[in-house]
Symmetry: C2
Subunit: 117 residues, 2 copies
Amino acid sequence: MSQDLDQVFAALADPTRRAILAMLLEDDMAVTDVAEPFEMSLVAISKHLGVLTAAGLISQEKRGRVKWCKLEPDALRDASIWMQGFGQFEPVNLDAFERFLQSELPDAVEGVTPQRE
Amino acid sequence: MSQDLDQVFAALADPTRRAILAMLLEDDMAVTDVAEPFEMSLVAISKHLGVLTAAGLISQEKRGRVKWCKLEPDALRDASIWMQGFGQFEPVNLDAFERFLQSELPDAVEGVTPQRE
DNA sequence: TCGTTATTTAACCTTTGGGTTAAGAGACCC
DNA sequence: GGGTCTCTTAACCCAAAGGTTAAATAACGA
């Protein structure tokens, strides 16, 4: 479905959301912990997580009072296939990927919302 | 750069723009010809082309009074690499890609902006 | 030079997106 | 039960996105 791609690409268009996905690549996380490194309210992060969930990029499971966020990389499959139709891109160049992570992981979040002090 | 990815993914999030890219996969086209199959104004298409150009996904070259639009698939490379970091996706499954094209090419544009008569 | 074709700019409108704060709902602990 | 922790909902704000029509620009063809 075309609107699935809409949602996936739109979700990926935000640097905060991409950073969240990169964090979840390491491990499942609770909402509060996801929010911790960002310079924005928990509510904002909660909304971002809602967008990611709607796009199918993560799933959220509530256990007790904490809601666990889990990466669902399969949601990227269709988008990836779509893009590959435009050209043969590297067979998983992990080095290049690492560089992206460097520029998008929590540490780099200050770059996203530049604020001194 | 993180904002490059912002622009690329944001550009891809719109079905009209993805349809345009799919059209350009076949051949370079003039702005008017790109606009022809869509049920929206030429101005709107011109703006979409501006977004695609800003994202680097196409280039536009003016020859005489017509501006030619050309696909620049390399712009997808970084985005593709980013996504592949989340999983090994099919080594270019062209069948799957064809299906996407079917659902996004001009004929399917009515599905995008559903309007009878 | 004049009308036509190709495209953009300007001005506008409405919806969506990303953020805020304040209040609410559940689950936990004592 | 009362306080606390986790997360969402509600109400709001502002900027950006996607569309419109009307007017401007620029190249062509006669």
